[in-house]
Amino acid sequence: MSIQVQNIHKAFGDFIALDNLTLDFPSGELVALLGPSGCGKTTLLRVIAGLEQADSGRVLLDGDDASDTHVRERQVGFVFQHYALFRHMTVFDNVAFGLRMKPRGIRPSESEIKRKVHELLQLVQLDWLADRFPAQLSGGQRQRIALARALAVEPRVLLLDEPFGALDAKVRKELRRWLRRLHDELHITSIFVTHDQEEALEVADRVVLMNHGRVEQIGSPAEVYQQPATPFVYGFLGAANRFEGRSSAGGIAIGKATLTAEQHAQHGEVIAFVRPHELDIVRQEFGHGIPARVSRVLTLGALTRVELEGRDDVAGQHFDVELPASHPLAGSLIAGEPVRLQPRSVRVFANPETAGAA
């Protein structure tokens, strides 16, 4: 089922959670709503489910306006961050709940319910836990039961609110892969909210990046990572060194120093980003590049991370550089050493703060 969100606006007091938002979720896709906490992603998910009422705007489910449809009639499956399993019911009763609550006329028989619940428990590979209570399960198991419970009523869409947020790193990775496989089997339109960019890029067909109640960019994981549309997206998807300066002939002028950059379309005040693995360290105090000083060298397995402090015009700024551990500089750089930084690849954006003023 497709979902369309049109001009949705939602404020909590003075705080604007969703700022006139319009979005399309095509049928059958697994979409990630990605953004920092407070960006409105969870609110959007709850508005789609009907758990939250938007101040204005419409939600269309399969082309029909669902604004006046009660939550229980929207046929959505919702998975909560903290599972929200019914603690006084067994796993079996939890999964059976949605079926048992159906009006008498369309309620399946108890034997039919039993068959269906076991089928779902097999789907989430936890059939052997049917008689346990939620408190006796691990976090990962609880979340899989929550998913089975949501699927029991055959929802037309599946909404997941930070489904792996409360789990530890290892379980999270497993469940991510598992969710992707499940989606490939069921092809149910799914939206999941996350603040973890790695999770979004790994699992989703499409990623919607949100900030301050607005959409910053929509695209496939590769698109948003390789061609970030805004400074926010660049900064949010992976580590980045940030430089502010003025567009000039050879690149970007930052005081007397120049950040060398190939042709770019921006003029005037700009923000430039360089990924840590695309920044080179040149062992000289003077010359081309951004002046900096090595403050710490950390070896993390195959990578060596060099932390640097800016000198002169960029004094007080912090930079990170990543080198392969086999790189000749990795073993020889000393804390306190003055160096120059030269980027191999730069991404330049107009500076929104000064652009607005000009």
Binding site: R72, V76, F78, F80, F86, H88, F97, M101, A146, V153
Partner: protein, 293 residues
């Protein structure tokens, strides 16, 4: 409070752990001084009076004891006490659940006022509560003349006693439920609604099972107060023997008439009720602690 005691059970293990380790153990004299103070206080102020009640009640033998209980005025007092409890406890059960539900699940004007009002019977002296009803319903009161015309007796009659009992027991159920409902949040209820449950189904299958121990706890306390209330009931009762005397009032009358053995015999009924209440309460707390794990 049930949640708090559930927590106490959990802390018990930790206390034992701290005691078992040399590094965290307190000096013996500290432990025994504190223990001694607590136990002495407990013995003198709680255990001794309880023992005295039963000793005095049986001082003149079993027969006097039983006579005092089956005497018509005493039986009438028992009946009236039970009646007051049977009416006020269910009323407060319904009101308490509704108020707790409204306060924790909805935003509305005057919510803070409602929360404050629920506590009013705790903060105001029961005598004042009784007087309020006298002022409103007595023949000189606000609607007294109207009641008189229609031949309805409230003050110095059973309805007044029931009203006063309802008033003093209002907070118990709501006060138990509000913190628990707040702590549990609404996620489980939201999950139930998304799964297609109707309002009543959500309440019956999800909310109620989660608060059942706290609810029972509130009912038990409410019942104990309903049967033991003296002040408010005393003001509205008029002390008509065999008609408007509850058990506590009956005890007072007997005592004032120097029938000590009979007074203590009836008092022992109330003491027994207290013991049963405590036993049930401990059992509920134990179950609540289990449900917690």
């Amino acid at each position: 409070m049930a949640a708090i005691t559930a927590n106490l059970y959990a802390q018990h293990d930790r206390a034992a752990l701290l005691e078992s380790r040399q590094a965290t153990r307190e000096a013996p004299w500290v432990k025994y001084t504190i223990l001694g103070v607590a136990l002495t206080f407990f013995a003198v102020f709680l255990l001794l009076p309880l023992a005295v009640v039963f000793a005095e009640a049986l001082a003149k033998g079993w027969e006097t004891y039983l006579d005092a209980l089956v005497e018509p005025d005493a039986l009438s007092a028992v009946k009236l006490t039970l009646l007051a409890a049977v009416i006020s406890v269910p009323l407060n059960l319904v009101f308490g659940v509704a108020a707790a539900w409204a306060i924790t699940r909805f935003d509305f004007r005057g919510k803070q006022l409602l929360i404050t009002l629920i506590d009013l019977p705790f903060s105001v002296s029961p005598v004042v509560a009784g007087l309020i009803y006298v002022l409103v319903f007595s023949s000189h009161g606000w609607i007294g003349p109207w009641l008189l015309e229609h031949d309805i007796k409230v003050i110095f009659a059973v309805p007044g006693i029931v009203l006063a009992t309802v008033f003093v027991t209002v907070p118990f159920v709501a006060r138990e439920l509000i913190p628990l409902l707040q702590a549990q949040g609404r996620e489980e209820e939201e999950a139930a609604v998304v799964l297609g449950a109707r309002g009543w189904q959500v309440f019956w299958h999800v909310t109620l099972p989660n608060v059942r121990w706290a609810l029972l706890y509130g009912v038990i306390l409410s019942n104990a107060r309903a049967m033991g209330e003296f002040g408010a009931v005393s003001v509205v009762s008029g002390h008509i023997r065999g008609e408007t005397n509850t058990l506590p009032l009956h005890v007072e009358i007997l005592y004032n008439e120097y029938q000590f053995a009979a007074a203590f015999a009836v008092a022992s009924l109330l003491a027994l009720l207290a013991l049963v209440t405590l036993a049930v309460k401990s059992w509920i707390e134990w179950r609540a602690a289990q449900a917690h794990d």
